[in-house]
Symmetry: C2
Subunit: 353 residues, 2 copies
DNA sequence: GAAATTTAGGCAACCGATTGCCTGAACCTT
DNA sequence: AAGGTTCAGGCAATCGGTTGCCTAAATTTC
């Protein structure tokens, strides 16, 4: 029947305060409250007394102190290019869900693809004693000896698990679909050079085109430029395609965001989608289905990839070097056909007014 | 001249190791490396010896230990409804920039507007010893005695600074603009009831409408439903508006994402934007300018709001109860006219086919 | 009834840094 | 030459938990 009002303005009760309150050592209290196996030698009654006291004093363990002692912070550092619409957001949502479920926190730092910021971010996270890293579309140079999981990153080092998309299949889905519709003059918008998916995807597209017996016209390849995560790079890339005067009936873009930018450029040039030009995007971000026209796109299971990364990093952290199996987890894309694609209309190709 | 290879597999050097290395006490080393004022009694030569040793051993301070001792973690907890396209992302980008610049880390937890998750998140963050909270579009129930800054949240408690939009002005911008174009039958899509901007915005709209002598027809008010952060709620809300059969020539939506959903619903009903119906969105998210048609919208300076929040929380943390001025920071909206609006066309109002 | 075990919980070191206080030595002052 | 300062840096407590080892009483085993 202890008095309920103790220091109302108190920050939080510490373990020691609980210990004094029940008249036991902090060791005993710690063992009970942190569910240590050593607590089994403490009788139920005492345990309940401790629990009650903790509740009464509103005890909250100081996780900094615990982490310091245990050498495990239950925190992972997440490296992303930026917080922007589209790709990152969805992956992060999955990652967050998975991590919180497993009792982990995370720190995000976005580095805008700048090498020095990436290194600085890694350093800061190490100082903060993260238990591991998750890198999303990020080129890791300086490698720490910490568990690491990458999503869509190139050249996995050792002790890293990488979650990657089946690029081969993704390219085939899009190319075969466009070819099946009758397209032969397919323009391509490549990713920025710093984006780690750019190269593998490009190789896969070349292979898929060869397999489908379509020639890729170098004049019909535009690359996204600039590090803006917005729609502008796609917009400008499409303008360059139009300026090249080479005829095309479809564009396969690096991602949905640039597809949307490209559509805008086409519209401004007086071309209609899909009547004059078909567009296939990539990712299937949330807004893809609500574009006008709704975007046909190659879906990456972004949320799932985030979840898989969470599982992988937790597994890696918690089983020290156990069977380091599954170095690479490959996920499959899916073609989502909406209304931005259709058969090519005759030979028409309106030059830019 | 010392040997450069020390324990290559070592995690990181600790202060003590540096101290042993240079043959000094860890106290002295700490003072020098953490830039303590007490370091001034240590001669330059010694300081340099210490610095060199730290560099050689690649010493990185353990910030957990430092935080524990100093009672300041240089971390703020960020509460958001979810990581989704649109609103949150932009605010977070600004917030991140501001926080990192000031040397702070942040932990994000998204709570999907679920009360128990909000409380749980606050508790977890307190356990992790955050120095303060930033809440974005979040209703804080359980208030901690920690510095807090809210963005677009209702009912500021004490010791919280709130960053809010000038709703009055925002409503007037949109309503006056639509009325100026000749619109009289303006439909409205209200925010979800759990969204903290919904009420103030709605009041402001009512006031602006009254001021402009337009009657708001209750049949022309639809509310977003469901907690999906995607475009669907707007899509369905627009469908309900159409189903009501009440004629309207414009819609003013709660945010851009729902505006995009609404446009889709209108298109499916055979209506053109802006020929048949004008749409004004809200927020000016990244993709707004690239919609088809590009969205006329009331811009919130989201990135700036994030930056302001960062500054405010840092100030609050670092100046304990100093002049707690500026309880509320109001930012101004701006009307961005693009192509989703135009004058109403005669009396035409096509019923849903 | 003695030895072995279990029960109940305390002691104190430790995680890695920070910091108030202290001590000798050197240097200055008058 | 005695006393006062400054210099250079060490001691040890502390932040809040955790945990290996230990002890003393109670209980069980033989």
């Amino acid at each position: 029947m202890s008095d309920a009002k103790h220091d109302p303005a108190r920050k939080t009760a510490s373990l020691k305060m609980v210990a004094e309150f029940v008249g036991l050592s902090s060791a005993a209290v710690s063992r009970v409250l942190s569910g240590s196996p050593a607590a089994k030698s403490i009788p139920k009654a005492t345990q309940e007394r401790i629990l009650a006291a903790a509740a009464e004093l509103k005890y909250r363990p100081n996780l900094l102190a615990r982490s310091l002692r245990r050498g495990r912070s239950h925190t992972v550092g997440v490296l992303v290019p930026e917080l922007s619409e589209g790709y990152t957001t969805l992956v992060l949502a999955g990652l967050e869900q998975g991590l919180l479920q497993a009792g982990y926190f995370y720190n995000i730092i976005s580095h805008h693809h700048r090498v020095e910021l990436i290194e600085q971010a890694q350093t800061m996270m190490i100082e903060r004693a993260v238990d591991g890293f998750v890198a999303i579309d990020t080129v890791l140079h300086q490698h720490q000896q910490l568990p690491t999981v990458t999503i869509s990153c190139p050249d996995s080092h050792e002790w890293v698990t990488s979650i990657v998309l089946n690029h081969k299949r993704a390219a085939e889905l899009a190319i075969d679909y466009l070819v099946g519709l009758g397209h032969r003059q397919i323009a391509l918008i490549k990713g920025q050079s710093f984006s780690s998916d750019t190269e593998p995807r490009w190789k896969a597209i070349e292979a898929a085109a060869a397999r489908a017996h379509v020639r890729l016209n170098p004049a019909l390849v535009a690359q996204l430029e600039g590090d803006s995560p917005s729609h502008e790079p796609g917009y400008f890339a499409a303008q360059r395609l139009l300026a090249s005067k080479a005829p095309f009936t479809a564009i396969f873009t690096f991602n949905d965001v640039s597809a949307i930018g490209a559509i805008r450029a086409l519209h401004e040039a007086g071309l209609r989608v899909p009547r004059d030009v078909s567009i296939v995007g990539f990712d299937d971000v949330q807004s893809a289905a609500f574009q006008n026209p709704p975007l046909t796109t190659v879906r990456q299971p972004l949320r799932t990839m985030g979840l898989l990364a969470a599982e992988a990093i937790v597994r890696q952290i918690e089983s020290p070097a156990e069977k380091q199996s599954s170095r690479q987890v490959m996920v499959d894309p899916e073609l989502v056909v909406r209304e931005s694609t259709g058969p090519p209309t005759a030979a028409k190709r309106v030059a830019k007014a």
